[in-house]
Amino acid sequence: MNLNLRGAWSILTNELFRFFRTVFGSILSPVLTTSLYIVVFGAAIGSRMDPSQFGGASYGAFIVPGLIMLTLLSESTSNASFGIYMPRFTGAIYELLSAPVGVAETLIGFVGAAAMKSLIIASIILITARLFVDYSIAHPLYAAGYVVLVAAAFSLFGFILGIWADGFEKLSIIPMLILTPLTFLGGTFYSVKMLAEPWRTIAQFNPVFYLINGLRWCFTGHSDVPIGLSLACTLGFVALCIAVIAYIFRTGWRLRG
């Protein structure tokens, strides 16, 4: 198979161009929201929390990985879903379907751009958090690899969402009603060890719990679950998304009539 790398690059740069065209709104909103979380929960309330409950780290440093994960999940999903949904909505998808680009080029272009956008925003949030919270990254290389993997995984998920959605309401319903609650209940602001039963056990059925703890391990060296389990969950999710996308392209579901 000869990949049309120029085609993939063209889609990728076009998507990034679209992002930078609206850079103010794209970056400012998530950075401001996350900064507020860090200031209110991390700096103000966090100073009254007992660090022994968070593996010795300050509460502010404890919530940073969770907030980064919250940003990665929501931004990756919304960027990728919007990226593919808009051409479907405007009809410009004809160009993609009639061009010599296949599933690989499409994913490199749309998913790659969505992941890059969310990583840019996550990086800015990480830098901004340093202004309010004194955190350190125990395993920086693992952290870098892990955030890239999570961004890719949820960009793939967002891409599927953008193909599935047949209206703007559906586009926002999954992030709003499923992803955000799962992220908040997955230990963004607390350790599951602080929960009483049966909530502690129930929390372990939340897939986002493993993602947050994976990144938390990269940051603090401590986690509620083994890093291997977190990594396996993320890779499993990536594999599932790729399988669904391959099915979509093979059958033309919601793309080709």
């Binding site: 679209r18 405007t90 009809g91 004809y94 061009a99 080709r256």
Partner: protein
């Protein structure tokens, strides 16, 4: 002009709801020609284009372009095909030049600012290259669509209703541009509602209705075969009855026997009307005026889609 660039055999498309949009279409397009596909709304024109360009999956049949199977060798085929869809569909906030460059890249072509400039200049868009597409007029937006389709220098170009909704002046301007593309060697397949458009530009014409091709032929041959001339001869004096010498024209008398009317028949053009006039003179019938009217491609088209599918055979 005889090499086949696109070969469609037994193409069918039935949508999930059961609608059969294409029903065993056979169509061959010659290299370098302008082929006009005519048909009423819902005839299957856009579905046919979509099947060739990869926008939808055919239910049956084969499509070969440039001698390559469009299903199996889709990458190679699509690199050489351009499509201008009916709807104005693009990122309205993008700049013109960026949008055209994007299209070129997507088709696997290396950036070529000179070529893009050439395309934009040929479509009178160069001055608007930095403008956002949403700021352009409807006609200019349509030209941007054409520029995007031409950005990778396709050998086969599909124009789906290229002049829909544009004013007469711009329409004629587009005809000139499409003619120039043909002169540059591009094979063009266009669908249109404007029969005048097909009559003006096409080398060959196909008529499709209810998913079936009713007729494909050279435009001039269609006019000769299916066109007819009508003649109305105003007589100097009323004629009590039509002389037997004029029987073969099946004439009628109107306006209190002061007008001799020849309705024409398929394939009988100007020559038949001229022979009639000679016969009238020879019969010693005086007349003071003749009005002739030739049927247009539109008349033929209307006849065909109103139930004369039998002519396709």
């Amino acid at each position: 002009m005889s090499e086949t660039i696109l070969d469609i055999r037994g193409l069918s498309k039935t949508y999930k709801g059961g609608l059969t949009a294409l029903d065993g279409v056979d169509l061959q397009i010659r290299k370098g020609e302008i082929f006009a596909l005519l048909g009423p709304n819902g005839a299957g024109k856009t579905t046919l284009i979509g099947a060739v360009c990869g926008l939808l999956r055919p239910s049956g049949g084969t499509i070969e372009a440039f001698g390559l199977d469009t299903q199996r060798q889709w990458r190679k085929v699509r690199q050489r095909i351009g499509l201008v869809p009916q709807e104005l569909s693009f990122d309205m906030f993008a700049q013109v030049e960026h949008s055209v460059n994007y299209s070129r890249g997507m088709f696997g072509c290396a950036p070529d600012p000179k070529r893009i400039e050439q395309v934009l200049r040929s479509l009178s868009l160069w001055d608007k290259r930095d403008a956002k597409i949403r700021e352009l007029s409807g006609g200019m937006k349509r030209r941007v669509m054409i520029a995007k389709a031409l950005s990778h220098d396709p050998e086969l170009l599909f124009l789906d209703e290229p002049t829909a909704g544009v004013d007469v002046e711009l329409r004629r301007d587009m005809w000139r541009q499409i003619g120039a593309l043909r002169d540059a060697g591009t094979t063009i397949i266009l669908t249109t509602h404007y029969i005048e458009e097909a009559q003006e530009m096409a080398d060959r014409v196909g008529v499709i209705n209810k998913g079936k091709i009713l007729l494909v032929d050279d435009k001039d041959a269609i006019m000769a075969k299916l066109g007819r001339s009508e003649a109305r001869i105003t007589l100097t004096e009323p004629l009590p009855e039509i002389p037997s010498a004029l029987d073969k024209w099946h004439l009628t008398l109107e306006d209190e026997n002061r007008t001799l009317v020849y309705a024409g028949a398929e394939g009988e053009g100007k020559r038949a009307a001229a022979e009639l006039v000679k016969a009238v003179v020879a019969a010693g019938i005086g007349f003071e005026g003749i009005v002739t009217k030739e049927s247009s491609l539109e008349d033929i088209f209307v006849d065909l889609v109103e139930g004369r599918e039998g002519l396709a055979a």
